[in-house]
Subunit: 282 residues, 2 copies
């Protein structure tokens, strides 16, 4: 998916939001914004939003003196872990535990500091559990899951990863499958990294972890690379969480995308509306 | 009031919103955004937001081939005119007609295509009538009004101008006053212009109209000019509607500012919150 003019103000808003987290003063934020605009003017805009955002976030980190979302990610994990037990009971007592776990994992996608500055996790869980999916390819997911032995799972945000853990555990409890769980190999907004994986999923057996690039060298292969395409082809069932992954992996076929629609650009691409709950096979 | 880094994404969002109104295609919007960013990079940021916005809106109009808000303004006027009778009855039957008209005029400030892409006029009127003002200098306004013979009224948006008309008429019905009503001398977002004044207030006697600059030559004196300061000093009571006027006229003292707080930058300057209803004397 290619970026739209709507993405430009969004990148510049992220500069303010991220640097305010680090209590950077306004004159430094102005310098960061000028650097981001200089980059935007020098680049072509026919890329996917995350590809532009790699550079924007790198500039943000250089002004923040590190990862400005570190504390936010830890808090998001802890908040989600505090309701994990309750969510697990909802899944286990439901008629179709896989479907319920899928819906909860999509609800977890509300934890996202790219488009948002705050979120309502409990409210979103209630809403998602009560609602139908706007695009619902669950029957096909279930069918493919029944035959799958190798599952590839692209995670999105910290905090959300707790609900991904619940879906992973639900899948492991239903069939003998091997799950490859993908996180970012370095900081990128509040995306889950290896640190979050170990903090949240360390007690889950039978899960291999891999990293994809955050746009910096040595953090893993780019999601658009031949190597990642090979991973996708080597697995029987591929799950991709969230807008950022959709914006890049949506160009490959054979993937189940699970996300809350948070911005008009993604909404238009999916022929959906902002706020929709989507499970789409492409 | 000086701009903040938060204003930068807001300017660039206005480029997208305004040009989408004119059905300009994305490649042209990209060109306009690049021109706006080039201007932002070349300018100092220690100005008030409207001073930067003069240039941004001029660039927008050059891509739109005219005023992209023309149709929106006409629709806003018509929508507000359709509830004018009802609002007039509310004022006339209220215990303190001046106070009720002031509150309705502030509610009208919700009609604003700078921060918003849509608004809920009726819902806002209900909310404002039921709520207290977050900052309420009405007693001082009433006191000054009782002695005033010359009133200067800086209007803000088209549509909103219908509720300003109601306040103007209420003041004229209560005392023998001379009212000078100020609009923009040329297009600037959805701000009221002479066209809107004549469309909405043509049947009100005893009102003189003046224009202030929209940032282009020949549209009237700049709101920060000595000439406008002289207008302010020559009147006994000065009312200023909306955020844009507050951002510029807030530097002068002796003015009643009436506004809905719509963005965190103005909220911080007023020590208020986004969504607050404010009548402040400064």
């Amino acid at each position: 998916m290619r970026m739209k003019p709507d993405c430009i103000p969004c990148f510049l808003r992220q500069v303010v939001n991220a640097l305010r987290l680090s209590s950077i003063d306004d004159s430094e934020i102005e310098r960061a914004q000028r650097e981001v605009m200089t980059y935007l003017l020098s680049s072509e805009w026919d890329l996917s939003p995350p590809e532009i955002d790699y550079v924007v976030q790198r500039i943000i980190r250089s002004y923040a003196g590190g990862d400005p979302y570190r504390e936010v990610k830890r808090r998001s994990n802890d908040e989600a872990l505090s309701i994990y037990g309750e969510c697990k009971r909802i899944v286990e007592s439901s008629e179709d535990p896989l479907r319920t776990a899928v819906k909860l994992a999509i609800a977890g996608n509300v934890i996202d500091f790219g488009p948002y500055t705050s979120y309502d996790l409990k409210g979103t869980i209630d809403r998602v559990l009560k609602s139908d999916l706007s695009i619902d390819h669950y029957p096909l997911l279930k069918e493919k899951f029944q035959k799958a032995s190798r599952i590839l799972y692209f995670s999105d945000n910290a905090g959300e990863i707790v609900l991904d853990k619940l879906l992973v555990e639900t899948m492991l409890s239903l069939r003998e499958v091997k799950i490859t769980f993908v996180v970012k190999g370095g900081p990128m907004i509040n995306d889950a990294t290896l640190e979050d994986f170990h903090y949240v999923l360390s007690d889950v057996g039978g899960v291999e972890v891999r990293t994809v690039s955050n746009g910096e060298e040595g953090t893993g292969p780019d999601r658009r690379s031949g190597e990642v395409l090979r991973w996708i082809r080597e697995h029987d069932l591929v799950i991709s969480k969230g807008q950022g992954n959709y914006e890049i992996l949506g160009d490959f076929n054979g993937i189940f995308h699970m996300l809350l629609v948070k911005c008009p650009v993604v909404a238009a691409d999916l022929n959906a509306s902002v706020g929709d709950i989507v499970l789409i096979y492409r």
